[in-house]
């Protein structure tokens, strides 16, 4: 009953014309920012942050949040159509989204990502509204040892994320981890591989890497390549956007699983939508009866990460609002928008500012509904975007990528970095090396390293701590099991294959 009263209070706040307007403005802007490769939510929110000084805190937060989760809705569009992620969390969507588009199923992929985003978002909101304090409390039990175990699980689970040979995938994971060592060492403070450059002290940026590897890499490799007119206008027609019964049947379970995985990683401070989308994809591929379909346009490979990153977007508000601790740079801005007005997030926020908290939660519902209504008709428009000749489209994207890279820290060196990663991405394409494992190694590597070293400081050098702590131990045991399963199934498949070849010969 209490909850209903809270929902009613929230709805009352969210539905006022002013708040409705800012909600719409936020999600509208977010969708476009998401679609444009290069400009991510952090850049967009940073640019708009100053106006929150002049807004009512609830309206300000509703708008900034709208941009945030709106970006994730739009982020997959460029992944699917152009093989360039509009946001880092949509990088993994390229893997199956782009092949779908190449098969003329772009409309269906976009339709399903919108539905998946809505599902993920909704489940995330349910978690946020029902279990916030509980989840926040649980997240606190995760110390360095637990994070370390979780990240190792992530690395193992995701080592087979692409279909290239395992050695290539593994090599790229390691390369990603190595690139991530550039910067200030997490414990000693020593500058590693910075060569005296101040711009390298913070290391390479995740968005610079994603945009370079995928975006610029794609543009570079398209130079000289003949554009085969795969995109026929019919895929923009409504009839060709409606997923088949088979698509639905394949999608609903991955959507729910993705939402669950996303909700979990979103609520943990320090992880977020990007890790969540990778994990959801890796998980779906792992449990799939037909893993070979992944990477070739499997709808599950689009639905799972897209529901995960949207769920993570919503649950990321849990530590921010209930503990007052932002899990990411974007969340720190949200927190800032509250503190500008003297509101301190924390356990007391929900009881002291009920109209703000519940208003925000209800605005998430409204925003997600608006995004659904906004995005479905736009699909036709986006698909038509592919008809723009590449010699107009690509230079424009190149400009946006450079602006986006610059705007994160206002540092020209970041533009050079994004171009450098572009060249790397191009070379990797030539050598048939997968980019997704590189990105994953880059994201998880620093977490594995720094959390392990923190765990070692706290255990005073006792290695067994990562196994004797209950959560960490369980997760590592799971990891070992997964590793064993992978090896065993590979061996069995190998034996079966040799047997068939032998019997065929005999």
């Amino acid at each position: 009953m209490d909850l209903l009263a809270n929902f009613a209070l929230g709805l009352e706040t969210a539905i006022t014309p002013t708040n409705l307007f800012y909600c719409f403005a936020g999600v509208f802007l977010g969708t476009f920012v998401g679609v444009i490769p290069g400009i991510g939510p952090l850049a967009a929110i940073s640019m708009l942050f100053p106006i929150t000084f002049y807004l009512d805190p609830t309206a300000a937060l509703i708008m900034l949040a709208g941009i945030y989760y709106g970006t994730t809705y739009g982020g997959s569009t460029a992944s699917i159509l152009l093989n360039m992620p509009g946001a880092t969390s949509a990088a993994v969507t390229c893997l199956d989204g782009y092949p779908m588009a190449q098969k003329g199923r772009a409309g269906i992929a976009l339709f399903m990502t919108t539905i998946a985003s809505f599902t993920g978002g909704s489940i995330g909101i349910i978690m946020l509204s029902l279990f916030s304090p509980l989840i926040a409390e649980y997240a606190l039990t995760f110390g360095p040892a637990e994070y370390f175990a979780l990240m190792v699980l992530g690395l193992v689970a995701a080592s087979t994320i692409t279909n290239s040979t395992p050695s290539k995938g593994l090599a790229m994971v390691v390369l990603g981890m190595l690139i991530a060592t550039v910067g200030i060492d997490s414990q000693s403070g020593a500058a590693r591989f910075t060569f005296g450059s101040m711009s390298l002290m913070e290391g390479f940026g995740i968005s610079a890497m994603a945009m370079g590897l995928f975006g610029i890499g794609e543009i570079l490799s398209s130079v000289g390549a003949k554009r085969d007119g795969k995109i026929d206008k019919s895929s923009a027609r409504l009839r060709n956007m409606i997923p088949s019964r088979d698509d639905w049947a394949r999608s609903w379970r991955p959507g729910l699983r993705g939402s669950a995985i996303g909700s979990f990683f979103g609520a943990l401070p320090g992880t977020g939508p990007s890790i969540a989308s990778f994990m959801a994809y890796a998980f779906e591929k792992r449990i799939s009866a037909t893993p070979e379909r992944f990477g070739n346009g499997a709808i599950e490979g689009v639905v799972a990460p897209e529901s995960a990153n949207n769920a993570a977007d919503q649950t990321a508000f849990i530590p921010t609002l209930t503990l007052g601790i932002p899990g990411s740079a974007t969340m720190a801005l949200m927190l800032g928008a509250l503190m500008v007005h003297g509101i301190q997030p924390g356990p007391t926020l929900i009881s002291q500012q009920p109209s703000l908290f519940w208003g925000l939660v209800m605005s998430f519902w409204i925003g997600n509904l608006l995004l659904l209504v906004l995005n479905l008709p736009l699909i036709g428009l986006w698909v038509r975007l592919l008809m723009v000749p590449y010699h107009y489209l690509y230079p424009a994207i190149l400009v946006f990528v450079c602006i986006g890279a610059y705007s994160v820290r206002s540092n020209p060196a970041d533009v050079v970095m994004v171009l450098g990663f572009g060249v790397l991405g191009y070379v990797m394409r030539l050598a048939d090396l997968p980019a997704a494992p590189l990105l994953l190694g880059f994201v998880l590597g620093p977490l594995v390293e720094s959390q392990f070293r923190r765990a070692m400081v706290l255990a005073q050098g006792d290695f067994t701590v990562v196994m004797t702590r209950p959560i960490a131990g369980t997760v590592l045991a799971l990891t070992a099991l997964l590793l064993f399963w992978t090896l065993a199934s590979t061996y069995l498949r190998y034996r079966r294959r040799t047997k068939t070849t032998l019997s065929a010969q005999g």
Partner: protein
């Protein structure tokens, strides 16, 4: 050639001294924030800029130049002309960075003009859910039985320096564990994975007020006027840890003294505004009220203290 231009600029400045009062500012003023949008320094800078625009009748443009522990933005400021149209707002990080960054691209003594100490607040030693003690004396006792884990927001952060200072001054049996930012340090303290964290009142008080962490001591000889219930480190018999946290405004090196005084006065006026007073109150902080010359002494003194501590404790080596 460069020297010639500099000489000409200096000459031009010299000629303008007499009119400095009336002539400033002649155009938009850039206030460099060497941290990201929405951070605590940014949140002080933005309302301050609004107040300064009213006083100066010129736009005051905030430029966020984060990176390298505030040194990217600070370096950029030192390269501007010392005509008051490019200013920097920074925390005590500007005094700790020279102690640990060997390759600074400016001289922290000659290339920086300290103008105004805007805000000061004491550092507070806080304890997490795993700490039984309620004050510093208790913590010292607790550390006889087990190693205390002092968390920081990262190596070279002000909390790192303060933790080393506390260890050095009190003989606390402690190991330092660095997290990736204050937020992570707080969650690990709340979860009982790490024990203490040191930061200024503005950062710690919200969590203390929530009851999630406890304030063990204000690092000062006496109790802090705005937190009468929190014991001081002096009460625990620990001395030599009474450095204050602050936010201050700087100009490029070699700024004309009169101009610095003028900007100092304008900043004081801005700080007296209702908007800024409200912010001070929220942050449990007080306004600085020092002349540029007085502030310069604190700036140089703090830098020396951190340098000595870095040498003694082997920070950044």
């Amino acid at each position: 050639m460069k020297a010639l231009i500099t000489a000409a600029a200096v000459a031009a400045l010299g000629a303008g001294v007499a009119h400095a009062q009336a002539d400033f500012p002649t155009g938009p003023v850039t206030l460099i924030v060497p941290y990201g949008t929405g951070g605590s320094t940014d949140m002080t800078a933005r309302p301050l800029a609004i107040e300064l625009e009213e006083i100066w009748g010129q736009p005051v443009v905030i430029q966020n130049r984060p990176g390298a522990g505030s040194m990217i933005g600070t370096t950029e400021m030192t390269q501007a002309a010392p005509d008051g149209h490019t200013l920097l707002i920074n925390t005590a990080a500007i005094t700790t960075a020279p102690a640990i960054q060997a390759d600074l691209q400016f001289d922290p003594v000659d290339d920086v003009t300290p103008i105004s100490l805007l805000i000061t607040s004491p550092y507070v030693l806080t304890g997490g859910s795993n700490v039984n003690a309620d004050d510093l004396a208790g913590l010292l006792e607790e550390s006889q039985e087990r190693t205390i884990f002092m968390s920081t927001a990262g190596p070279g952060s002000s909390g790192h320096f303060m933790s080393e200072l506390v260890i050095s001054a009190s003989g606390l049996n402690a190991d330092i564990v660095h997290f990736g930012g204050g937020g992570e340090a707080y969650t690990n303290m709340m979860g009982g994975h790490a024990d203490t964290y040191i930061s200024t009142t503005a950062s710690v008080m919200p969590y203390v007020n929530d009851g999630r962490i406890k304030a063990l001591a204000v690092l000062a000889p006496e109790r802090f006027e705005l937190l009468p219930d929190v014991p001081s480190s002096g009460e625990a018999g620990v001395t030599g840890v009474d450095i204050e946290g602050w936010v201050a405004v700087f100009g490029p090196g070699g700024m004309d003294e009169e101009l610095a005084n003028r900007i100092n006065a304008d900043l004081a006026q801005a700080m007296a505004s209702e908007r800024m007073q409200e912010q001070l109150e929220q942050n449990y902080a007080v306004a600085g009220n020092l002349t540029p010359a007085e502030f310069r002494e604190i700036y140089l003194r703090d830098m020396q203290i951190w340098q000595n501590l870095a040498d003694e404790r082997g920070i950044g080596q």
